[in-house]
Subunit: 194 residues, 2 copies
Amino acid sequence: MRRLTFRYPNGKRYTKSATPQKMGKANRGMSLEEDINQSIIHYRNTERAIIHKKPTPVQIVNVDYPKRSRAKITEAYFRQASTTDYNGVYKGRYVDFEAKETHQVQSFPLKNLHEHQITHMQEIDAHGGFGFLILRFARSQETFVIKTSDFLHLKASTERKSVQKTHIETYGVKLANTTLPPVDFLPAVDLLFQ
Amino acid sequence: MRRLTFRYPNGKRYTKSATPQKMGKANRGMSLEEDINQSIIHYRNTERAIIHKKPTPVQIVNVDYPKRSRAKITEAYFRQASTTDYNGVYKGRYVDFEAKETHQVQSFPLKNLHEHQITHMQEIDAHGGFGFLILRFARSQETFVIKTSDFLHLKASTERKSVQKTHIETYGVKLANTTLPPVDFLPAVDLLFQ
């Protein structure tokens, strides 16, 4: 057993025990969010696309303004996001996506997408934006890109509270295992929205 | 003299004394931000464009998780924004803008745009997005839309720490006084990026 230590951009330490012989690229314990954040930095540096993660929406209730010191927020609450997490520009077009990870094996649960986000996705679609989801099955470390319109169609056509993995495989594009960027989703966007 | 009281979305109270006979639509004391927020809601409701204001970026240091109550952020700090405030989709294209107001009469000061935002604007421009500024001269209640590329060109060609109003009049589009939406900037975007 070996202990690996990562630091997230927010400074939080993430420690995960990993068995060395099992460690491929896919098993480094990096979250999908971390992988996507690295990927959008890479796309920006290589001038492929400009995509940013939106800040966490916070309702600020109280702020202290100490003398000779910066303002300190002393009371605030998390608000529910009314949009997806990521958006930006790719070849002049508007791109907009949400990233979700599951530990289930056969299907993707829908409970993580709330109504506001689904409405937002439908609006982006209606206005000609490139709206999609990046879905990762954490156990098999498989990552898919699927158009929001296809995903919402699959969601609407089932009684279940999840979308079957086989359907995601049919409508989505499975990403190759790459290192830089760790989630190379732009070729899938080209393919899905051509 | 009459006292009018408004509340901004952040809950801060804004009080402005106004002489009733001088009160046209333009003098209601609404901030540019408030006007733009109303306008993007109107555009969304009338299915013209989907534009959102980004949440204020906050660095969260400490969170309390009380029993039977929602999480409370007890220590956080404002971070400098690395992008502009507004972005979204219009006719499939990526739109991105910043809104600024000045009380100066003859020129627009540049100090309110920081380096990160200028870099972001240049990147949006390079990737074919529709990048622009909405500038308001508060005293005359004149509002202009100007392409970021033109504004940055004007900025680069002067030794001053401000851009002359006459130049903004030449390169920008002056908005008509409208009520709904209060800042009708999409026709100017059509004109500037045609």
